[in-house]
Symmetry: C2
Subunit: 369 residues, 2 copies
């Protein structure tokens, strides 16, 4: 188990990080694009892999980026709103699944290993007991959030602290082992209700439109969930321009930690891969705090959760995978890491027409109609 | 350079292989499905990854299949129909790109390495000179096909031989190094015209509907290409029930070799991953010869070529990726190998609810509404 001193000046660390965030590097992206046009393939024939590599060049500021050091952060937290019957699973599953992550038996363990990424599990605020483990980062900002259908999830000070702790843990990991790409995943029974509320508050869409069935609730539970989201918006009246306030009102501790990690990744010019609907809600919080952070996001997959598409559209991001997944944990983002690595390897390792002595087409000279 | 004795009895080897092809193993697929229901995730939460693993279980006959030995076959051939101005690239690019494959500078080299797959390059019938190389399988069934817009691509005997040589090369590779999954890719300036003709003949769709811009032809070239496909169907009058005849009339040598490899893979219960539009045309030939072979196909990506979707629909296959690719070479199939491996690792390596001590939901007991 790793235990760290709490961040001493959360507001200061947050402000410092936000001030370091810059938009994408157009020069590097342009250089990557120009190189893709010289590689031994018809122009554009690698489709989304080309735009993905160009995006990552812009994020990193490197014409031929490498993604050798890969990290998946899985932040876990419990949610007071489970008292409203919004989930098909009992709340103790959060702690049980954290133990499963630490034992290596969950989907994210398999998929991170497949992608060559290490996994860091964060107890952002789980209610139940989690045994000590060397891979566990124990932040524990509280024993789960308060019920958002009856008031704010947490105080503004705790929201700021959850963001700052997310920044600090990203920076510790980056300093210790390096991070060239990061996937942001989560676990928390009830957190798709928080995510739906954040997405509704940000996009202005109706709660019913952006609320999904999460891990598989039936019709009756679904109605309870929509009602909980509606009440959360009514009692909290969140301001979509105030990311910290939205997080305090509607968010989970794990959502705050992830939003902080998104900001830290943006400041460090590291591509941050969004997973499913909860991860995308954390991305919305980060974007509300620092709009330029969006330039460093990569959308991985399209979840079956309706709020996910709404969130990605708001961020103007298009996912690279559409596999009907709805698991969370960072599972879709871990798969997408593999595609990002493939895209960057193509950009870096393919021969150019000149190098390979291959005749180019007219199409490479005159752009396609 | 590897050189082999020609197959002595092509018709006999083809008939023997076809007779060995069985439908998917429903018991193994059912066992895989049952196991997925016990893994620590909500039922169905891994979406297409679950159906992919179940499909591969049915193909291999194993409840927990492993895909450690991975092969990409890239078959190359030239096409007499290039005389009709159907391509944006000169025909010598086929031989140049084969040299690029052998030097390791092409997209498929990068993507196969990324997927942990070895690459075998086959000269099925390239017109130009290809220097000797230890990784080249030199079949060279002819110096390119005849112009399909003026008559058959090849004799029926040569069509049979190309299929038999595809079977033989798959079997040699399987015996020598093992194959647990294979991706079928190709290279051949002009071969998207052959593919469009095969797809039109098989599906009954109009040539204009299934003909695409290949490597990037302009409007004028596109009209020449549609006209060439229309004439190919008119002069050859292919019979969609006669796979060997369709291949002789419309196909390339590389398409025949790939179709043979599809049949050999089906007979050996090895998942065969379809790449783009030309690879799917070869799959249609294999399916016309042995309808049960389709059970062993896996559709990788959806190409921007319109004929690709038509072919996959005819085969009732749904691709797992949609990345606007249109390169061929096996590039999309190599990416999909990685997803197949991930899907099978999840099935094999994830903990069950019992093993992990995680509480199950009601949803796992009562199927979701």
């Amino acid at each position: 188990m790793a235990k760290f001193e709490p961040v001493t000046d959360p507001a200061g660390l947050l402000a410092f990080t936000v001030s370091a965030i810059r938009p994408a590097d157009r020069v590097a992206a342009g250089g990557a694009d120009a190189r893709q046009g010289r590689l031994t393939k018809p122009p554009g024939a690698l489709g989304r892999l080309e735009s993905l590599a160009t995006r990552i060049a812009g994020i990193t500021g490197l014409e031929r980026p490498r993604l050798d050091q890969r990290l998946v952060i899985v932040a876990a937290g419990d949610h007071g709103v489970t008292a409203q019957g919004v989930s098909a699973y009992p709340a103790e599953v959060t702690a049980q699944m954290v133990a499963n992550f630490l034992a290596g038996g969950a989907a994210i363990n398999v998929l991170a290993k497949h992608a060559g990424a290490r996994v860091r599990v964060v107890d952002a605020g789980v209610r139940g007991e989690i045994p000590d483990h060397s891979d566990l980062l124990r932040l524990r900002l509280g024993p789960g959030t308060d019920d958002i259908s009856r008031g704010p999830a947490m105080s503004r000070a705790l929201a700021e602290r959850s963001l700052a702790e997310g920044i600090a843990l990203f920076e510790r990991e980056r300093t210790a082992d390096g991070i060239q790409i990061v996937a942001l995943g989560e676990m928390g029974i009830g957190n798709s209700t928080s995510a739906a509320a954040i997405i509704a508050a940000t996009t202005g869409l109706a709660p019913r439109t952006v609320t999904g069935r999460g891990t598989g609730v039936d019709d009756a539970h679904f109605e309870l969930k929509v009602a909980a989201v509606e009440r959360a918006l009514h009692v909290n009246q969140p301001d979509r321009m105030d990311g910290v306030g939205m997080l305090a009102a509607l968010g989970g501790f794990e959502i705050g930690v992830l939003a902080g990690a998104y900001l830290a990744a943006a400041a460090a010019r590291v591509p941050a891969v969004i997973d499913g609907v909860i991860s995308s809600a954390a991305a919305l919080i980060a974007a509300a705090i620092a709009p330029n952070a969006v330039d460093s996001f990569v959308a991985s997959h399209l979840s079956v959760e309706p709020g996910h598409l709404a969130a990605l559209r708001h961020l103007r991001l298009e996912p690279v995978l559409d596999l009907n997944m709805r698991l969370g944990e960072g599972s879709g983002a871990a798969l997408a890491i593999s595609l990002c690595v493939a895209a960057c390897r193509l950009l870096d390792e393919m021969a150019t027409f000149d190098e390979a002595g291959v005749s180019d087409s007219d199409a490479a000279v005159e752009p396609e109609a």
